[in-house]
């Protein structure tokens, strides 16, 4: 099988280039895994915002009480108290909330003057709403006792407030198949995989086709004793084996890194999605390989296409961060359906046939796109051949 052998040699030569994508992907996955510590699903934990707490008055019993109370809702981040450090910490998302207790706050409060606590946060963010509620709760309760118990001293006040605030609502957590944090990590991992697969296939298949379609080489192979049909079958075989190998590598990575985190049912369904997507990539690669004739163009098109599809479909950033118009456009892209399927399947609590059925449609969309792309590629090949013959 000389054509198949040639295919193997071309791929072998491209291995360093292809490895870059895999290495970057593995590094990325490793970082991702170390950052997300899996939380238990059965217990409810109060969310924790990250706060920089600055007491400009020397701390009083009251403000210490507030600080202790906030420990339940926030992690205290140590940030240098100069303006630039605080600004940076907030901008780059190290803290969610900066609380400054101005000098004279406690005295003013105890005398019943209207005093305020200064906060700097991202405007209208969920974490700031959360801390606002809890800080106000504490201060208002203190105000209530202060107004109604004349002559109360600070320590008493703090004791009463913290006793009342220890009353908690019972929370029941309904279990889901994959807990939300792990689910997000898994989605990020499998969604990013679409970028890697696209690049691996376009570069691999595209490079082979560029080599094989060089005019002189093409003419030489055409006059060889291997019949054209058999040549094409060998190319097809090469393409299929290459695609399956890429898919197996990706799945093995997923299994090694996240095998434990995902239930078997989900793993199989996601693997199926990735398998379908690999063939979409193959048909896209086939189209690109048959339309282009220079390596420079190939690397430009690969980058623009893979980045473009992945950015607009939510493979890099979650789909909820992407505007509706962009997503509406992305529906014509296979990556959109691939990502949507992953997100929904991975986060599904209990997979039943009824829930699965509409999601199988997403696979259908991908296959439809693959067929359409393949059809275009065949037309281009035919036109090119006719142009050559003419």
């Amino acid at each position: 099988m000389p054509v198949f052998q040639a295919y193997k040699r071309v791929i072998k030569k491209s291995i360093p280039q292809l490895l870059i994508y895999i290495i970057v992907f593995v590094t990325f996955a490793a970082i991702l895994m170390s950052s997300g510590a899996p939380a238990s699903t059965v217990r409810f934990d109060d969310a924790r915002a990250r706060i920089a707490f600055m007491d400009e008055a020397d701390s009083s019993i009251l403000t210490e009480g507030l600080k202790n109370y906030l420990l339940q809702y926030a992690d205290f981040v140590d940030v240098k108290h100069d303006q630039a450090s605080l600004q940076d910490a907030l901008f780059f998302d190290e803290v969610d909330y900066i609380l400054r207790i101005p000098a004279g706050f406690t005295e003013g409060f105890l005398e019943g003057k209207p005093v305020g606590l200064e906060k700097i946060s991202l405007p209208n963010s969920v974490s700031s709403v959360y801390l606002d509620i809890n800080i106000n709760k504490y201060m208002n309760m203190a105000r209530f006792y202060l107004a109604n118990i004349p002559g109360i001293i600070q320590q008493e006040l703090v004791d009463l407030v913290s006793r009342d605030l220890s009353v908690e609502t019972a929370v029941e957590v309904r279990p889901t198949a994959v807990n939300a944090d792990a689910g997000e990590t898994l989605s990020i991992f499998y969604n990013y995989m679409s970028y890697v697969l696209l690049n691996l296939l376009i570069l691999g298949v595209g490079t082979f086709m560029l080599v094989f379609n060089q005019r002189d080489l093409r003419r030489r192979t055409l006059c060889s004793p291997v019949p054209l049909r058999q040549q094409n079958m060998q190319i097809l075989l090469g393409n299929l084996i290459y695609a399956v190998v890429c898919w197996i590598i990706m799945m093995a990575l997923g299994f090694v890194l996240y095998g434990k985190a995902m239930p078997a049912k989900q793993t199989i369904l996601v693997a199926l999605n990735t398998f379908v997507f690999t063939f979409v990539c193959l048909s896209i690669s086939f189209l690109i390989g048959s339309a282009l004739s220079s390596r420079n163009a190939l690397s430009a098109v690969t980058n623009v296409l893979s980045l473009g599809m992945c950015f607009t479909s939510g493979a890099f950033v979650p789909q909820y961060l992407i505007g509706e118009q962009v997503l509406a456009f992305a529906r014509i892209l296979p990556t959109y359906w691939y990502v949507k399927y992953n997100n929904e399947i991975i986060n599904m609590a209990n997979i039943t046939w009824d829930l699965l059925k509409p999601r199988l449609g997403y696979l259908g969309m991908q296959m439809g796109i693959a067929v359409a792309v393949l059809a275009v590629a065949l037309v281009i090949i035919k036109q090119k051949r006719q142009a050559q013959e003419a």
């Binding site: 699903t41 005093v115 305020g116 009353v167 279990p175 939510g314």
Partner: protein, 390 residues
């Protein structure tokens, strides 16, 4: 003579469509993709009310006070989003809504207040804080009456507890909006600036006799080699600066990315940055005597790594690096460019901006020196093989 060489260098560079693509068209496409990917960012991270399902059972119907409290929380106050948006449904319906992700939690009176969720998170915790507050306030009243039974008899002396006193005063963090997404665009600009090194490679390749046919021919001409190189660098610098200006105009006019208002300082950053980028290229081109492909590969690796450390892939990575190993921030030209733009955008003072520009100039000087040392006085006894890059 200088003018003549310069003019022809300019013509050659402008005819190089591949480099023009990577240094201008590609960044423009990528910035557009960034914009699409973050098109919903502000909306998705800001507080948009929390959806709860309230179970309409007997216990709920009997509890007037709780109904009123809920209604108050679901009421729009001024132009702010109400805290809760609630649906009154049966238990079965509530569970379906939770499973489908339509609500963040279920409030159930069983007969004690209970919260049902399927994950921990800010939204869920806000519901809990709200429910806690309801019960904590009752606790306060109870304990107050226990301490002072007289208060109950004379109701009018009881100073009412009002939860709506807002102790929190919001302050502005920086000069412009705290928006981490601008960092991605700044880092992209830094990447583009360093892509200027591709021009730098070309500039060196075409005056080095062992690097290209053109270089061999040019070395025969009775023109000082440094004059040739300077003409090429100047041409590259002008082209790169114009490209960057176009990119910035595109980002700020079309994509509406905010750069602050100091146009002069932003252009200065581009001017200095592109010189650093180009001389980085000439240095690598001069020091490494390998094929064009290898040089480009090395530079691409350097550029993408440096840009990554400057926040191109994860904006907060820039901050993490700066905090953990401050030196890394100062020896990374990509970070210096990102940081200069960030300082202009977010800071009131110019110290940080000036420091960044000075360091960029220092880098350019070092790169120039190394280029000079590597290129000067090269003589060739024979040039066995020159491979044309294109």
């Amino acid at each position: 003579m200088f003018a003549h060489v310069f003019r022809y260098r300019m013509k050659c560079f402008l005819g190089d469509r591949v480099t023009l693509f990577w240094t201008m068209v590609f960044p423009i496409l990528l910035s557009t993709l960034f914009l699409m990917a973050f098109s919903n960012f502000g909306k998705a991270t800001s507080f948009a009310g929390i959806k709860v399902a309230v179970v309409n059972n007997d216990a709920y119907q009997e509890n007037r006070m709780f109904q009123e409290t809920l209604a108050a929380a679901a009421e729009k106050q001024g132009d702010e989003e109400p805290l809760l948006s609630m649906e009154l449904v049966s238990l079965g319906e509530a569970e379906t809504l939770l499973d489908q992700g339509e609500v963040h939690g279920i409030i159930l009176l069983d007969p004690d207040i209970k919260l049902v969720v399927n994950q921990s998170g800010f939204n869920q915790s806000i519901i809990k804080s709200f429910l806690d507050q309801y019960q904590q306030v009752s606790a306060s009243y109870t304990s107050l009456f226990q301490m002072n039974p007289g208060l109950l008899a004379s109701r009018d002396t009881l100073k009412d507890y009002s939860a709506d006193y807002d102790f929190i005063v919001e302050k502005n963090p920086g000069k412009n909006k705290t928006d981490i997404t601008v960092t991605y665009f700044y880092a992209l600009l830094a990447m583009t600036t360093l892509y200027g090194s591709f021009w730098g490679i070309r500039a060196v390749n075409e005056v080095q006799a062992d690097q290209s046919m053109k270089g061999a021919r040019i070395n025969l001409a009775p023109v000082h080699k440094m004059k040739m190189l300077l003409a090429a660098i100047l041409a590259a610098w002008i082209i790169q600066f114009v490209e960057l200006t176009i990119l910035i105009l595109y980002m700020s006019m079309v994509l509406k990315v905010s750069f602050g208002s100091q146009a002069g300082c932003i252009l200065l950053t581009c001017l200095v940055g592109s010189l650093t980028g180009i001389t980085l290229g000439t240095m690598v081109g001069g020091l490494i005597k390998k094929s064009d492909g290898i040089k480009t590969g090395i530079l691409l690796g350097i550029t993408m790594t440096l840009s990554g450390f400057a926040g191109l892939y994860f904006a907060s990575f820039k901050y993490v690096v700066t905090k953990a190993v401050p030196v890394l921030a100062y020896i990374n030209p990509a970070n210096l460019i990102t940081d200069a733009l960030y300082a202009l955008y977010y800071y009131d003072t110019y110290e940080r901006f000036t420091l960044n520009i000075i360091l960029l100039l220092a880098f350019a000087a070092v790169f120039c020196l190394l280029t000079y040392l590597s290129v000067r006085r090269d003589r060739y006894a024979s040039i066995p093989s020159i491979q044309e890059g294109d």
